[in-house]
């Protein structure tokens, strides 16, 4: 399903985004097509389409929350390049919550 475009949707490649079941409470319930050139851009676009996602994935400083994991074509970039990760050539993004808690 493709939602109405955000302000910067035209930039970057078109990616297929999957959110895990917990996050579907706040965001898209099915896979989402998003055009973005970085993870930050992708999250900005998702949040503009689904305002309840705002501050769920990132805090006010723009950092990914502790237990949010972003996978670019299967590679976890959360603890490495993070939101600055370029998405040129990427095809799929998975946004998941990590195994944590007790």
């Amino acid at each position: 399903m493709t939602a109405p475009s955000g302000a910067r949707d035209s930039a970057g490649p078109s990616l297929e985004v999957h959110l895990d079941s917990w996050l579907r409470e706040f965001g898209p319930r099915q896979r989402e097509e998003v055009a973005a050139d970085t993870v930050e851009h992708l999250l900005d676009t998702l949040e503009s389409r689904y305002p309840r996602l705002k501050f769920k994935l990132r805090d006010e400083t723009g950092r990914l929350r502790r237990y949010v994991r972003v996978f670019v074509d299967g590679e976890d970039v959360s603890g490495t390049t993070g939101v600055g990760t370029p998405l040129a050539g990427a095809r799929t993004i998975d946004i998941l919550h990590s195994i944590a808690g007790g």
Binding site: F26, E60, H97
Partner: protein, 376 residues
């Protein structure tokens, strides 16, 4: 109108609404909400029966304020305030400056306080890092109270073990411009002008953990209760003991000395028990009831003496109780409600004369409050 009494229980794993019968003897647990989230405070809005507010702190998705309009059957996320400077998503955040909490992201929400009766849309919210907000539209938006959030000395304010928490908000029922707050590990403050300016009010409270023993700020206040019959009187559970003030916090007097170790986290007062305060004394090292059983101590401020409300053999064990872990209701005699970190919920329907356990094991309890019908 549904006027049953309800205990609102916030736990490590969600919110529980517990409804009682008219005698406060039989209790029904449910509805349950916010499964998996840490609930630091749940409160009923006495101006709109059925409206509840919850301070929901999710390990995964961060803090959020939620409201129910039907006694907790359903909840809806409402606006959550942002840290000052954070709205543009690029604040002057600086990792190397840990004593500048205004530059830190909003962490946990600690306390929601309904505003005065004649301002039915107003509520206050206390949060980490040392932040105070006010809504005048029932949570559709929140305005920062800059007298605290931009206080010139906040760079000197340190956290307690629970963080930079602003956990206590008290309103003077006679004057909406006069308010009080408590912060760890900063102390208590008072405003006389509706929040524009705040002055520390910690005189007489010792800080054994600092080189200076009676500083202006730096006290680790744990919780404060206002005496409903005399709003100039306050009862304080501090890290360093139990105190009373009779002059709007201008001066504090330690009352806990006769108890020996007067450590604890919580304190409550009750409308139908003027001049009395209820404390749960804990062992200062173990942070559980040190006498080997559950106990509540009642302070009689008129006679200036202490009384234990339970027999030693009533509920043996070591119980932890946190800062929002005790509450009273509006009835006469007042009910007293205590939730423990190991999930017991103790109830006395008669000002402490008899006690029972609600027959349900909760997750560890952070907060207990009561939505109470008024006394007849």
């Amino acid at each position: 109108m549904d006027s049953r009494i309800r205990i609102l229980v916030g736990t490590r794993k969600g919110t529980y609404v517990v409804a009682g019968d008219s005698r406060r003897r039989r209790w029904t647990v449910g509805p349950v909400a916010h499964e998996g989230s840490e609930i630091y405070h749940v409160v009923a809005d006495p101006r709109r029966p059925g409206d509840l507010y919850a301070a929901v702190n999710s390990d995964f998705w961060g803090p959020m304020v939620q409201r129910s309009a039907n006694w907790g059957k359903t909840w809806k996320e409402i606006a959550t305030p942002l840290t000052p400077g954070g709205k543009d998503r690029k604040p002057e955040f600086n990792d190397s400056d840990p004593l500048s909490p205004v530059k830190r992201p909003l962490r946990n929400l600690w306390h929601i306080e309904p505003g005065p009766a004649d301002e039915p849309e107003t509520l206050y919210l206390g949060a980490d890092p040392h932040l105070l907000f006010r809504t005048q539209d029932r949570g559709a938006s929140w305005d920062p109270i800059d007298g605290i959030n931009q206080h010139p000395k906040r760079g000197e304010w340190s956290p307690g073990a629970g963080g930079h928490c602003l956990h206590t908000i008290l309103l003077d029922p006679r004057d909406a411009r006069r308010m009080y707050i408590g912060m760890s590990a900063v102390g208590t403050f008072r405003t006389e002008d509706g929040g524009r300016s705040w002055t520390p009010r910690n005189k007489g409270v010792i800080t054994p953990f600092l080189p200076e023993k009676y500083p202006e700020t730096g006290q680790c206040v744990h919780h404060v209760a206002i005496d409903p019959a005399d709003p100039d009187t306050f009862y304080r559970q501090d890290h360093a003991g139990m105190y009373v003030s009779h002059d709007r916090m201008d001066r504090w007097t330690r009352i806990g000395r006769p108890l020996g170790d007067d450590f604890g986290f919580c304190v409550a007062s009750a409308r139908a028990a003027p001049g009395r305060a209820f404390f749960v004394r804990l062992d200062g090292r173990a942070r559980v009831t040190g006498e080997g059983h559950f106990q509540v101590h009642e302070w009689d401020d008129t006679r200036r003496r202490w009384r234990k409300l339970l027999r030693p053999d009533a509920f043996p064990g070591h119980f932890g109780v946190q800062r929002e872990g005790i509450a009273t209701d509006e009835l006469d005699p007042p009910g007293i409600y205590v939730g423990t970190t190991t999930g017991q919920l103790f109830v006395s329907p008669n000002a402490g004369r008899t006690w029972q356990l609600v027959p349900f094991s909760f997750p560890g309890i952070h907060t207990v409050s009561v939505a109470s019908p008024a006394a007849k």
